[in-house]
C-alpha cells in the first residue's frame, strides 16, 4: 500500500528523485521556489509523465492504470482552485464522484459534513469566503473517496485560523488511513503537523525524514541559504531567522 517515486527525472525540473509514501500519515513536500515540488506532486498523481523513472501505486506503474481507475485511487487538489461556473457547493463537491461514474449522495453528504459545509451546500460557490471555498474544493476530493490525497499548497491563500482548520481536516483523513501528501511553503506548518517531510532542492531530494531531522537548522541553511533555528516545544515550534 504505497505510492512511490523511483528515480524520477524530468528535463530541467527533477533529477532522479526517489521517495516512498505510506498510508495513514501526512507527508509534506518542502523546498524553495522552483525546486520541483508541484512537478513531483503532478507526477505522483499521474497527470505528468516523467522522462525516466517510474511512479508506482501498489507496485504497479501509474501509467498502466486507466485514467478512471487511477482517479479512484488518487485524489488531486490543484493550487488556487477556482470554479469556472458559479455552481452550487453540493454540485461542485459531487464532481468528485466522476471516477466512480455515479453521483452517490452518501459520499457527497459525508464530505460536506466532514468539512462543515452542510449549511452552505445549496449556496453558489461565488458567495463563499476564501476559507469556505478551500474547504469546498477539499470536500470535492474527499467525495471521490480516494486512498490518497495529493494537495498542492492547499493552505497558501488562507489566514491562520483557516490554515489550522484545514490541516485539522487533512490530519483526520490521515488518521482514517488515507495517505496525505501536501506541498507546503510554510516550514512551521510542516514542522508541527506533518509526520514526514521530503525536502527538494533544485530538482533533487535532499532530505526525507521526520520533520525534526528533515527540517533541521543545517538543512535550512544549506537549502534555503537562511540561518535559522527552531524554538518552542514539539508540535508548537516556530522558526526564527537570524
Amino acid at each position: 500500500m504505497t505510492l512511490s517515486a523511483d528515480a524520477i527525472s524530468l528535463a530541467n525540473r527533477l533529477d532522479a528523485v526517489s521517495a516512498s509514501f505510506g498510508p495513514g500519515q501526512i507527508t509534506a513536500i518542502c523546498g524553495p521556489n522552483g525546486a520541483g515540488k508541484s512537478t513531483l506532486l503532478s507526477i505522483l498523481s499521474g497527470l505528468l509523465q516523467p522522462d525516466c523513472g517510474l511512479a508506482t501505486l501498489h507496485g504497479k506503474a501509474l501509467s498502466e492504470f486507466s485514467s478512471g481507475a487511477r482517479a479512484q485511487h488518487i485524489g488531486y487538489l490543484p493550487q488556487n482552485g477556482e470554479a469556472a461556473w458559479d455552481v452550487a457547493v453540493r454540485n461542485l463537491v459531487a464532481l468528485g464522484r466522476m471516477p466512480h461514474g455515479d453521483s452517490a449522495a452518501g459520499p457527497v453528504e459525508a464530505a460536506l459534513k466532514a468539512l462543515d459545509l452542510e449549511v452552505l451546500a445549496a449556496r453558489p460557490i461565488s458567495e463563499l469566503s476564501g476559507g469556505e471555498k478551500a474547504r469546498a474544493f477539499l470536500a470535492r476530493v474527499l467525495a471521490g473517496e480516494p486512498e490518497w490525497i495529493l494537495a498542492d499548497e492547499p493552505l497558501a491563500a488562507l489566514d491562520l485560523a483557516h490554515q489550522l482548520a484545514l490541516i485539522g481536516h487533512l490530519k483526520r483523513e490521515a488518521q482514517s488511513g488515507k495517505g496525505v501528501i501536501i506541498v507546503l511553503h510554510d516550514l512551521a506548518l510542516a514542522m508541527n503537523h506533518a509526520d514526514r517531510v521530503v525536502v527538494l532542492d533544485q530538482g533533487q531530494a535532499v532530505a526525507d525524514d521526520v520533520p525534526e531531522k528533515a527540517l533541521a537548522g543545517e538543512v535550512i541553511q544549506r537549502v534555503w541559504g537562511v540561518t535559522a533555528e527552531w524554538i518552542g516545544s514539539e508540535g508548537h515550534r516556530a522558526l526564527v531567522t537570524r
Binding site: 503532478s42 470554479a83 464532481l95
Partner: protein, 321 residues
C-alpha cells in the same frame, strides 16, 4: 433543470403552431387557396428546419462555452462553419443549378475537412488554449480561401448568388433539407451529451479534471464530431447564421444550475425557439424582398448582447459567469 426544459418545450410547441400560419399569406383554411399544400410543403418543413438549425447552434454554443470555460465562446471558434461555407462556395463553381444536392453535400464535405484538420491537431497540442488557437487559424484559413473563391467567381451572377447565400436564410427550403439536417443535428447533440460529464469536470480546471479521469483527447473528439454535425449541417442547409450559439446559452444559463451538462438540452430548445421566432418575423415583415435570416438575427442579436453586457456589468463586479 427540468422546469426550464418543460417551459421551453411548451413555448416551442405554441410558437411552432403559430408559425405555420404566419407568412406572406396568413393561412386561413376556409379562404386561402392551396392552404393544405402551403402548410405541408412550405411552412412545415421551413419551421422544422428553423428548429433544427437553431437547436444545433444552441447546443453547440453551450458545449463550446463549457469546454472553454468562457461565456463568450462560440461554435464558430473551431472553424467548422467557415469550412462548411468554403465547401458551399466551391459548389457554386461546379454549377449550383446542376443538382439541388450539390451545395449541401459540398458544405458537409467542407465541414468534414475542417473536422479532420482539427482531429489531426487534437491531442497533439498541449491543452485547451493551443487547440482553440488552432481552430481559429482553421477559421481564418477557410475564410481567406472563401474570399479568394468569391473574388475569382466565374461570373457576376454567381458571385451575387454566393454572397446572398452566405447571409443565411431558410427561404424556399423543402423536406429534402429537413431530412438531411435533422438526423445529423440530433446525432451532433448526442455527441455533446456524451461529453457532458467531462465538460462538468472542467468546472474545476484542466488539471483537476484530468485528475478525475477526464481525457482531453476524448472530449475534443466528441466536441469536434458534435460541432461538425450540428454546425456543418446547419450551414449546409441555411448558410451562416450567427449569434445563436453565443447568445442562447447566455440566456438559458441563469435558469439552470449552471453546470455545462444542464445547459445542453435547454440551449438546444431555446436555440430552436429563437431561430423559429426570428424566421417567422422575417416572413411577416412587409419588405420587398425577404430580409435574410442571418442578417436579421445579427441585427437583433448584437444590440441585445450589448445590452446584456451592460446589465451584467452592473450586476457583477467580477467574472462574466
Amino acid at each position: 433543470m427540468t422546469r426550464p426544459i418543460g417551459l421551453l418545450c411548451f413555448a416551442l410547441i405554441i410558437v411552432f403552431a403559430l408559425s405555420l400560419f404566419a407568412g406572406r399569406v396568413w393561412l386561413d383554411f376556409a379562404s386561402t387557396p392551396n392552404a393544405m399544400l402551403i402548410l405541408a410543403e412550405l411552412r412545415l418543413p421551413r419551421a422544422l428546419l428553423a428548429i433544427t438549425v437553431g437547436a444545433g447552434l444552441g447546443a453547440a454554443g453551450a458545449a463550446m462555452q463549457g469546454y472553454l470555460r468562457n461565456p463568450l465562446a462560440d461554435p464558430g471558434l473551431f472553424g467548422i462553419a467557415p469550412g462548411a461555407a468554403l465547401g458551399a462556395v466551391a459548389s457554386f463553381w461546379f454549377g449550383y443549378a446542376a443538382s439541388a444536392w450539390l451545395l449541401p453535400v459540398f458544405a458537409l464535405a467542407g465541414a468534414a475537412g475542417a473536422m479532420a484538420l482539427l482531429a489531426l491537431i487534437a491531442g497533439r497540442t498541449g491543452g485547451i488554449a493551443l487547440f482553440t488557437l488552432a481552430g481559429m487559424m482553421i477559421a481564418s484559413l477557410a475564410g481567406a480561401l472563401m474570399s479568394l473563391a468569391i473574388s475569382f467567381a466565374p461570373n457576376a451572377f454567381a458571385m451575387s448568388e454566393i454572397v446572398t447565400w452566405l447571409m443565411g436564410a431558410l427561404t424556399d427550403r423543402s423536406w429534402r433539407e429537413v431530412y438531411l439536417a435533422a438526423p445529423l443535428t440530433l446525432l451532433g447533440i448526442a455527441c455533446f451529451w456524451m461529453a457532458r460529464k467531462d465538460l462538468d469536470a472542467l468546472i474545476l480546471g484542466d488539471a483537476a479534471a484530468r485528475s478525475l479521469g477526464m481525457r482531453l483527447a476524448v472530449l475534443q473528439a466528441w466536441l469536434i464530431a458534435g460541432v461538425g454535425l450540428t454546425v456543418g449541417s446547419g450551414v449546409a442547409v441555411a448558410g451562416i447564421i450567427g449569434f445563436v450559439g453565443l447568445i442562447v446559452p447566455h440566456l438559458v444559463r441563469p435558469f439552470t444550475d449552471r453546470r455545462p451538462s444542464s445547459l445542453i438540452v435547454p440551449s438546444a430548445l431555446a436555440g430552436g425557439l429563437l431561430v423559429l421566432v426570428a424566421d417567422s418575423v422575417v416572413r411577416i415583415l412587409p419588405t420587398v424582398t425577404e430580409l435574410r435570416l442571418g442578417i436579421a438575427l445579427s441585427l437583433i442579436g448584437a444590440p441585445f448582447f450589448l445590452w446584456l453586457l451592460m446589465k451584467m456589468r452592473r450586476g457583477y463586479s467580477g467574472g462574466l459567469s
